[in-house]
Structure formats: structure tokens, C-alpha cells
């Protein structure tokens, strides 16, 4: 584990409100380069709001207010010069798949094209690599020109993952990526995520405690808008949790 390198993502005193409703408060954490950072907690814990603050999705929610500081590669994201570069470098997979109304090929080739890539050969290579990584290639390789929005739910979810990978993110935010994906395919994607750790950093929000255990290097437990505990995943799951609420949650006594 790299410890000397500066944190890729640094969050200090992060608070999020929707109107009067507090969704998150006082969150401090760091995500190190090339780690998988797990985020677990019951519904309404503030997990998704946390992700929204990272790549400035708050702009799309009219009454969402973000306090505190989020630093990505040393830049405060609230005052970043090139917001689009930030979003390009942070891939997001939302829990409900969004297949854009383009062909499967164009869905995956969109981000590279937006970056200015024109060469058919380069695009072909990226599309195939990303679809393979998202464990979708074998199912769609013969119909890449079909509409992406007509795939099944689970396939669209994998298409979304392939699309997020195609923008070559430095940080990948996964919000319940396996919600519509069958267990076997989920396992295949999890294997890919482990390999991706070589190239990028992942923040993995999940309702499946065991998924965090399988994948995450470190895991944070969110509850009611607060970060209760952050620890090395192995120690958290092998009796090292310090907070009683974390222990209860891990053992399935609530949430």
C-alpha cells in the first residue's frame, strides 16, 4: 500500500444539505491512489450525497448545498478551473443504469470522441477493451450497432460501467453498481475491479457488506449522515470495529 504519495481525494469537514434537511455532516477522509475505498451504510446514510459532492453533481440539484472541502489531486473541486476536466477524470456509475439513446458502440465511444479521438481503429480498441472489462463484450459483440437503451437492465448497467471506463478516469465512483446485475456477472466485474486497482482508484458504495469485504482495501461506515468509522477492511471485518453501531451493522442487526 502506498502511503507516501499524496491522497488522490481529500475530504475535510464535508457537509451536505438539501434545503433544511442535513444529509451529511462533518465527514473527514482521504482516499489513497490505487486503492478501493468501500463505503457502506444503510439507506439515508448520505453515501450517494457524498459521491455527488465529489464530482460537483450538486449543480444539478437546485437546493443542494455543500460545505467543507473536497480536494481532488490537490484541487478544491468547488473552485476548480476546468470543471469538465474534473468530470472527465472522475467516472461515475449510478445505481439505476442509464443507457444513452445511442448504439452500444457509440455509448462507449462517446467519451473518447468528446476528447477528440477520431481514429476508428483506436475507438474500436477502446470499445472492445471497456466492454470486455465490464463483462459485456461476449453478449453484444455481434450487435454493437443496436440501441444501448434497448438492452436489459443488467446489461445496461454493465454498459454504463463500460462507458465510465472509456473516459479513462483516475477515480471511479461506483454507486451500487451490482443492483441489477446477476451474481455470476457481478463476480466477473468484481474481478475486473480488482485488476483495475493497478490503474485507477475506486470509491465503491455498496449495500452488500460482503462486497465491500471482498473488494475494498479500506472501508468507511456511514450512518445517519455521519462517518462513524474508517478502517482497513480486513481489520473491520475480523473484529477490529471499534464502534458498536458498526459491529451491529456488519452483523446485520439493523439496516
Amino acid at each position: 500500500m502506498v502511503t507516501a504519495a499524496p491522497a488522490l481525494l481529500e475530504v475535510r469537514g464535508l457537509g451536505i444539505r438539501y434545503g433544511d434537511k442535513v444529509a451529511l455532516q462533518g465527514v473527514d477522509l482521504q482516499v489513497r491512489p490505487n486503492e478501493i475505498f468501500g463505503l457502506i451504510g444503510p439507506a439515508n446514510a448520505g453515501k450517494t450525497s457524498f459521491l455527488r459532492a465529489i464530482n460537483r453533481m450538486d449543480e444539478f440539484v437546485p437546493n443542494m448545498r455543500v460545505e467543507g472541502e473536497v480536494r481532488f489531486a490537490g484541487h478544491d473541486v468547488q473552485h476548480i478551473t476546468n470543471l469538465y476536466a474534473l468530470r472527465r477524470r472522475i467516472g461515475v456509475v449510478f445505481p439505476l443504469p442509464v443507457g444513452l439513446p445511442l448504439s452500444i458502440y457509440d455509448n462507449v465511444a462517446l467519451a473518447p470522441r468528446l476528447r477528440g479521438m477520431r481514429s476508428r481503429a483506436d475507438l474500436d480498441a477502446i470499445v472492445e477493451r471497456c466492454l470486455r472489462r465490464a463483462a459485456l463484450w461476449d453478449e453484444v459483440k455481434d450487435r454493437l450497432q443496436n440501441l444501448g437503451s434497448l438492452l436489459s437492465g443488467g446489461q445496461q448497467q454493465r454498459l454504463t460501467i463500460a462507458r465510465a471506463l472509456s473516459q479513462e478516469p483516475a477515480l471511479l465512483l461506483l454507486d451500487e453498481f451490482s443492483i441489477a446485475v446477476d451474481p455470476v456477472t457481478t463476480m466477473r466485474i468484481e474481478e475486473v475491479l480488482k485488476e483495475l486497482r493497478q490503474e485507477l482508484t475506486i470509491v465503491l458504495v455498496t449495500n452488500l457488506v460482503q462486497q465491500a469485504r471482498r473488494l475494498a482495501d479500506r472501508t468507511a461506515f456511514f450512518l445517519g449522515g455521519r462517518c462513524v468509522e474508517i478502517a482497513e477492511t480486513e481489520s473491520l471485518f475480523s473484529g477490529g470495529a471499534k464502534d458498536q453501531r458498526t459491529i451491529d451493522y456488519l452483523e446485520g442487526r439493523f439496516g
Binding site: 504519495a5 491512489p33 490505487n34 484541487h75 478551473t81 476546468n82 477524470r89
Partner: protein
């Protein structure tokens, strides 16, 4: 290919601090769009300012507002002149009301048929036809009022004059129906198919699905369609002028001839000397019209928006 974390960090930081070509293009496009958007508002303000400037001095100094709204005599050319617009306001209201009685059932039925029952090629053809109907010039409708509806009303109802509120209302209703149909159909189309499927899975009949699920969900859009239809009816000029009989008296029944605000302006502005009291009084009528249509459009907008927020 493993990048070392530190170099990733530095190159990332540089990328985030750089305004690239896409960033500048984005800025330019945003500016261009804003200029277009702001100029729309400028045009509206300019039109308002023009109408206001022509009628304001007269309205402020020499016009009695109570006479304007409640006076029954519009006699700008006799001495002393009177400027009572009640007959025109009443005429406009009567004709619009009749128009909506015609247009609402017609357009809603058409929209439900096109949106919920017609399929495939028939549906596409119907939509094209409806749009064609919307493109018929209003003077043609006026001629239909004069030459077709006029004798028809005379013989069916046994009245002396067929150019009346009923005639103008029918014409306006038929004119407003196509655009209302299109808008209503859009509102129906915006209801997700999953709602229909969920309701049909419960054993609901087609009509029950439409009545209990589709129409309630589409209600804001349908209300907006009606309001925009009313706005259309209010603003229509030439067809009404031809079909209404243009008589400056408040109608007592649908068989009385009537005059509308728009038709009066159109008929008299050419005769009134520029800057005369009569000329300015007509601009005051324009202001009244402007505010009524503005209020209707605002209301329609609020209804549609209210839906989105909830």
C-alpha cells in the same frame, strides 16, 4: 501499464488547471445562447414599451378606466366621444367561451384517439393531418364562416343573421382545436408506458386506464393545452371579424352578433388619425389584450411548472 501514483497526481493536477479548447468552446456557446435568450426578452419588453408609449398618455390623462371596462358605448368618432369597451370585452368572452365548448371536447377526443388508440401508419397520418389543419390561414376560416356557417346557422336555427357569436365561436373552436390536440397528445405521450402496463396488469379496461391513470397524470399538460387554446382564441382577429358580424353591442345570446377587442383594433386603426384620441384608445385596447394573454400564458406556464416540481 502501471502509472506511479505521484506522476498521475501531478499530470492530473495540471489537467484540472488547464482551460482546453473544449472549455473555451463551451464558454462561447454559452454566451451565444444567452444573447439569444436575452434578446427574446428584449423583444417582448420593446413591444410592450411601444404599445404603452402609444396609449399611455391618453390612458393616464383623459381616459376613465371605469368607463373603459364597464361603459357600453364605444363611440370614439362622435362628439363628445365615449370609450366604453364593455361590448368588446363581453363579445370576446362569449366567443372564446363558445370556442372552448367546441374545441376542448374535440381536441381531447382527438388526442386520446391519436395517443391511445391509433397505431402505426394511421397514427402518423392523423398527426400530419392535425398539423396541416393548424396551418390553414385564418382568412380561409373567415371565408368558411361567411359562406358556409352563415347560411347553415340561418337555416338550422331559423335566425335572420348567421354572423354571430355561435358562428365565430365555431370557427375559433375549429381553429384552436389542432394546436390543442397536438399539445394534449404531447401531454398524454409524456405519461410513461409503465403506468399503463401496471394498470392493465390489474385488469383495467382501456377506458379505465385512460380515465383513471393517463388523464389524471396528464392533467397539467391538458390544462396548459386549454389555456393556450384560450390564448389563441383571444388573439385571433381576421376570422372573428368576418364571422362575428362585428356589432359593437354586448351579446345577450349566441345568436347575437358581437365584436371582439382584436377585431375592433383591426377594423378601426386604419381609419383613426395617428396620435388622435381614437388612435390612442385603440392602443389602450391593445394593452388590455396584452395583459389578458400575458396572464393566460403565465397561468399555463405555472400549471406546467407546478407539475414538474411536485
Amino acid at each position: 501499464m502501471t502509472r506511479t501514483p505521484t506522476s498521475t497526481h501531478d499530470s492530473l493536477a495540471r489537467e484540472l488547471a488547464r482551460r482546453d479548447a473544449a472549455w473555451w468552446r463551451d464558454l462561447a456557446a454559452r454566451l451565444a445562447v444567452s444573447i439569444g435568450g436575452v434578446s427574446t426578452i428584449l423583444f417582448i419588453v420593446a413591444i410592450f414599451a411601444f404599445i404603452g408609449s402609444q396609449g399611455f398618455e391618453f390612458a393616464w390623462n383623459r381616459l376613465s378606466w371605469s368607463e373603459l371596462f364597464f361603459g357600453t358605448r364605444w363611440e370614439p368618432t362622435v362628439s363628445p366621444p365615449t370609450y366604453g369597451a364593455w361590448a368588446m370585452i363581453a363579445g370576446t368572452a362569449w366567443i372564446t367561451a363558445v370556442a372552448m365548448l367546441v374545441a376542448v371536447p374535440l381536441s381531447f377526443c382527438a388526442a386520446v384517439y391519436i395517443g391511445e388508440f391509433a397505431t402505426g401508419r394511421r397514427r402518423e397520418w392523423l398527426k400530419i393531418l392535425v398539423e396541416l389543419l393548424a396551418a390553414i390561414p385564418s382568412v380561409v376560416w373567415g371565408v368558411i364562416g361567411l359562406q358556409v356557417f352563415n347560411p347553415m346557422i340561418q337555416s338550422v336555427f331559423g335566425v335572420q343573421i348567421g354572423l354571430n357569436v355561435l358562428n365565430a365561436g365555431l370557427i375559433l373552436g375549429l381553429m384552436a382545436a389542432p394546436i390543442m390536440t397536438t399539445l394534449a397528445e404531447d401531454a398524454l405521450k409524456a405519461v410513461p408506458d409503465s403506468y399503463r402496463e401496471a394498470a392493465e396488469a390489474l385488469g383495467a379496461t382501456r377506458w379505465q386506464v385512460i380515465y383513471k391513470v393517463v388523464l389524471p397524470h396528464a392533467r397539467p399538460g391538458l390544462s396548459a393545452a386549454v389555456l393556450l387554446g384560450i390564448g389563441r382564441a383571444f388573439g385571433e382577429t381576421i376570422a372573428v371579424l368576418m364571422a362575428s358580424g362585428h356589432t359593437l353591442m354586448a351579446p345577450g345570446s349566441v345568436f347575437d352578433s358581437a365584436a371582439t377587442l382584436t377585431a375592433t383594433i383591426a377594423a378601426e386603426l386604419g381609419e383613426a388619425a395617428v396620435d388622435s384620441d381614437h388612435y390612442q384608445a385603440l392602443f389602450v385596447l391593445g394593452l388590455v389584450l396584452f395583459f389578458i394573454t400575458f396572464a393566460i400564458n403565465l397561468l399555463a406556464d405555472r400549471i406546467v411548472r407546478g407539475r414538474r416540481r411536485s
